[in-house]
């Protein structure tokens, strides 16, 4: 059979079907038309489809494509006619009798909702912190989680005899030589460890980046702690560092207030309480006033001159502040999470609640 002949036949069939279906006015006639065109045994479409076999091979793709278009057009016209007559949408092969037009569409069925995942609440908090600190001019940096003692302790002004270096307070790596947990005097090679704070990144950045700088570093840190509702041996910290020629504690307090105000979405007051950290002097604990109470925010202070000296920065010219805070605590308070261990259990009933 010639292609154009076939195409013409298809075209006129579609015209005719559309005309009939546009004017059909009762369910019985509609069903008759349905059988006439799409009947499984001897419907018009079936007949034409058989003719496809006799089309020349080279014309087959074109013929097939047009056939599909016509079939879709007739199906659509049938559906529209059924809707117009208040019937359920036409379903081919529904097997319905003349009185019923097959299954009835139920508009109250639940919608076909896309299945969409969720972002972990800690990730959401980290992104929130990055966004706020970005607006305050702080760039994001990162560093390794497995650190040497220079970056985790020495450069941070944590001397050999400081309790923070105790093997029981850190996750030291067992080296090939099996450095025993007792060798506090740590003759080289000193064992590496999982960083106990993100302040290590301060050192790496100050070693390499030009001044002045404003950075934050975020990531996992590790401290041996028996897990309970408020403790987990792995958690996340955000560390901030600003080094410039005239950075003072006044700016530290002001930046932290801007941060807290952005994070909480209302005007917030900040309070300093004296504290002690080896890498800052003076050192303070920071609280913010929110909902009628002082809430612990984190630790902060002015970069200790010894830290500057360890990375070759002249503390007579440069000054800076640093602050650090626990991300889990902020996250848990924000989302109403009461047990830190839930964050790391992977239960989808938990994870799905943080859909935003």
């Amino acid at each position: 059979m010639a292609l154009d002949q076939f195409l013409t036949a298809l075209g006129s069939m579609l015209e005719e079907a559309r005309a009939c279906l546009a004017t059909v006015d009762n369910a019985e006639s509609l069903e008759q038309l349905r059988v006439k065109y799409t009947g499984a045994k001897s419907g018009a479409l079936k007949t034409v489809q058989k003719m496809l076999g006799s089309i020349d091979v080279k014309d087959k793709p074109a013929a097939g494509m047009r056939f599909n278009e016509v079939r879709d057009g007739i199906e659509e016209a049938l559906g529209q006619a059924a809707l117009r007559l208040g019937q359920a949408a036409h379903r081919p092969g529904g097997g319905s009798g003349p009185q019923s037009l097959g299954p009835v569409f139920d508009p109250t069925l639940p919608g076909l909702r896309p299945r969409i995942g969720t972002i972990h609440p800690i990730t959401q908090t980290l992104e929130h912190l990055k966004e706020i600190m970005g607006r305050l001019g702080f760039n994001v940096t990162e560093g390794p989680e497995i650190e040497d003692q220079w970056h985790n302790f020495v450069a941070l002004n944590i001397p050999e005899d400081h309790p923070a270096r105790d093997p029981l307070d850190n996750f030291y790596l067992a080296t090939a030589k099996a450095v025993s947990a007792e060798s506090v005097t740590g003759d080289p090679p000193a064992p590496r460890l999982l960083r106990s704070q993100t302040s290590t990144v301060q050192i790496r950045v100050m070693e390499t980046e030009p001044l002045p700088l404003r950075i934050i570093s975020l990531g996992r840190v590790y401290r041996p702690d028996a897990p309970d509702a408020t403790h987990f041996p792995m958690f996340h910290q955000m560390e901030g560092l600003w080094v410039d020629r005239n950075v003072t504690m006044t700016q530290l307090k002001s930046v932290l207030r801007l941060f807290a105000t952005s994070y909480l979405g209302g005007d917030v007051s900040i309070r300093f309480r004296p504290s002690f950290f080896p890498f800052t002097e003076p050192s303070v604990e920071v609280d913010y006033w929110w909902n009628g109470q002082w809430i612990e925010f984190g630790g902060a202070g002015m970069v200790d001159p010894n830290v500057f000296q360890s990375v070759g920065i002249d503390p007579e010219i440069w000054s800076g502040f640093a602050f650090g805070l626990g991300v889990e605590r902020l996250c848990m308070r924000r989302f109403g999470i009461t047990d830190i261990r839930d964050l790391y259990r992977s239960d989808v009933r938990f994870l799905r609640q943080f859909a935003t």
Partner: protein, 673 residues
């Protein structure tokens, strides 16, 4: 540190309410933990930071109050204690063989005491801060420690063999019976106070059972010594033996406070137990250490704090804290008292001024100069990665970085090196750093299964840790996915991520079929860039599925985000659309079951030429009746288009003909008519 409010009044008179004072302490560095009432008197628990050993006694806390409220501090004077004519040197000798751990050892002797209970007021003070009264001698040593922070020890002189004290390293595996009635095995890094025969006390930590003061004791040796903090900390940790004494020696206590403490203790003993103190003191290092001068320059105060503190007030604060101060218009020359070993530099003095002056004086609304900051390419990429994973229905999870040693935990597609191991486990049994995120995700899947959570899809982005010998280990940032499905779901997520992160001009990916032993054979593909694996996808092996009783299929895959980031395209660039229409051609090939789409596709790509813009896989189906066993049909669509002309049907036909011929010759593919 427990503080008796009533006891404090011995040293300082404060007419302010206790709550107010407690708050002032908190705002100047002594955090308030709690207040309890013991036998009708308030006892305050204060947190003392590790740099403030001077606050580990009532006098130190009283000094803080005196400074804050500008009150005088009254430290008891110890003059006029009567001594016998006999010198201590006639009855006792001390030899220090371990000055590295015990730089200074002093001893006094009191003879003829009568052991009895302490007076009730004295015992009550000790009880109020949680110390059990023992007798008038032991109580005096404890009382003075809680007064000034210097630990003391009283020996029964009758049990000191040859009247000789030897400060020495413990011998290896030396056995020691402490006053807690337990025995400890020592090592040579520990310091013992011994006589010529045996150890009498574990220096700085605890006294020994044999030489302890008992009801029959008559003659006493009163020890006041200095120990090196690290030596004491190590001993206490190793033996798990922590005492109020070790707690103090682990910090830097006043090296010049020994003599006051020793005399003060003797004063109480003479008062409560009688006896007679021998003349003199045995002291292995009689020269007192004096502090060096610290210069405080006037501009430095505001340079650090950002506010002006009146210059005269700066000097006053330091003086009240016990410093010796010489002040002129522009500078202060300061010598810190020996009980403040933490004050060595200018900035230390500024902190003292700041905390006493009060941090509330620092404003919180200063100008902060504006600077620009930019989002890192990594953060931009990670937004894309996470949103695609979410769009595909995956929930993000975070898991601990350390895992155990189960067969699942041993899954390691990125390295054949052993995992890095910590000397202490993170959680029970978890001391191996992850070499892959997959073990955690399979554990997560199993946890959800145990909670009846079905059809779980999870992803995690985190570092894996790959050993590199002597260098710092490689920390590779990975994405991993797990789903209850066939691997195509995970593969699709990875394809979408790669395409979106790289855009149209990313590196050429080399797709290889590979076999990981933890995957079902023949299910795994991996993509490489120049020999480095970017990602892999497959189905967890049936044996692991069965061994771990996992219900249903486990599609897993992992992608190296660092390598992905290497070719990140941050901003899409428009490619002009062709103004000429595209011709679509469906092809339906019959091929052998073993024919992979990947190889068929690459044959098509090579043979179709430039006009073929897209090779779209549609579906695979089988019609064994017509095609016979071992055959399948692959339906695909070619998009044929030119940028320079409207293609004629014949041109498209030519492309299709080339494709058919190539598929026929390379794969024996037969086009379905």
């Amino acid at each position: 540190m427990l503080i008796s409010w009533e006891w404090l009044s011995d040293y300082v008179k404060i007419d302010r309410p206790m709550d107010e004072v407690v708050n002032r302490w908190a705002m100047s560095g002594l955090n308030h933990e709690s207040t309890q009432w013991v036998e009708g008197l308030p006892v305050i628990d204060l947190e003392v930071t590790s740099n403030r050993a001077d606050c580990l006694g009532h006098i130190g806390i009283a000094r803080e109050a005196a400074v804050l409220y500008s009150q005088p501090l009254a430290i008891p004077t110890l003059e006029g204690l009567r001594t016998s004519k006999q010198s201590v040197h006639e009855v006792l000798s001390v030899q220090n063989r371990f000055p590295e751990a015990c730089p200074r050892y002093t001893a006094r002797v009191i003879r003829g005491v009568k052991i009895a209970p302490s007076p009730e007021w004295f015992a009550k003070r000790l009880r109020s801060i949680g110390i059990r009264p023992i007798n008038n001698v032991v109580d005096a040593t404890n009382y003075v420690m809680m007064e000034c922070g210097q630990p003391l020890h009283a020996f029964d002189l009758a049990h000191v063999a040859s009247n000789q004290i030897i400060v020495r390293p413990a011998s290896d595996k030396e056995n020691f019976q402490a006053i807690d009635h337990r025995s400890y095995t020592l090592d040579p890094q520990m310091v013992v106070i011994a006589d010529s025969k045996r150890a009498l006390a574990l220096g700085g930590v605890m006294g020994g059972l044999e030489s302890e003061v008992s009801e029959s004791t008559v003659d006493l040796l009163i020890e006041a010594a200095s120990f090196v903090p690290m030596a004491i900390r190590r001993t206490a940790r190793k033996l798990k033996l922590h005492s109020p004494s070790s707690h103090r020696f682990e910090r830097h206590i006043d090296p010049n406070g020994l003599d006051w403490a020793s005399l003060r203790c003797c004063q109480w003993i003479l008062e409560f137990a009688g006896g007679e103190m021998l003349e003199g003191l045995i002291d292995t290092q009689p020269v007192a250490r004096s502090g060096s001068k610290i210069l405080l320059r006037r501009p430095s105060v505001s340079r650090v704090l950002g506010i002006e503190v009146p210059w005269a007030q700066c000097g006053q604060i330091l003086t009240r804290l016990g410093c010796t101060v010489e002040q002129d218009e522009q500078s202060l020359e300061v010598v810190a008292p020996s009980f403040r070993q933490d004050l060595t530099r200018e900035v230390d003095l500024i902190e003292e001024i700041a905390r006493v002056h009060g941090y509330e004086a620092i404003p919180e609304d200063a100008m902060v100069p504006m600077v620009a900051s930019a989002r890192r390419p990594k953060d931009t990429m990670m937004l894309t990665v996470r949103s695609i994973a979410c769009a595909a229905g995956f929930n993000e999870t975070l898991n601990p970085s350390l895992i155990g040693k189960s067969p699942i935990d041993r899954i390691s597609p990125w390295t054949t090196q052993d995992p890095l191991v910590t000397s202490v486990p993170l959680l029970e049994g978890a001391s191996s750093l992850r070499r892959s995120l997959i073990p955690s995700l399979i554990a997560a899947r199993l946890h959800n299964q145990s909670q009846s959570n079905r059809d779980v899809r999870l992803f995690e982005t985190a570092n894996v840790y790959l050993s590199q010998g002597a260098q710092l280990p490689k920390e590779q940032h990975n994405l991993a996915c797990v789903a209850q499905s066939e691997p195509r779901l995970v593969r699709g997520v990875f394809e979408e991520i790669i395409q979106r992160v790289w855009g149209q001009d990313g590196p050429v990916l080399d797709e290889r079929l590979i076999d990981f032993d933890f995957l079902d054979k023949g299910t795994c593909v991996a993509w490489f860039i120049g020999g480095t694996m970017l990602a892999w996808v497959g189905s967890l092996s049936r044996s692991l599925v069965q061994a771990n009783k996992i219900d249903g299929p486990v599609a897993i895959g992992e992608l190296d985000l660092d390598l992905l980031q290497g070719s990140v395209r941050l901003v899409p660039k428009l490619k002009a659309l062709s103004p000429y229409p595209a011709i679509l051609r469906d092809l339906n090939f019959i091929v052998d079951e073993s024919t992979h789409w990947g190889s068929l596709r690459s044959t098509i790509a090579k043979s179709a030429g430039e006009l073929c813009r897209e090779i779209l896989f549609q579906e695979i189906y089988r019609d064994t009746k017509r095609d016979g066993d071992g055959k399948k049909r692959i339906l695909l669509t070619l998009t044929i288009q030119s940028d320079t002309e409207t293609l004629k049907g014949e041109q498209a036909d030519a492309v299709v003909a080339d494709v058919i011929a190539a598929c026929q010759s390379h794969h024996g593919a037969k086009l379905l008519a």
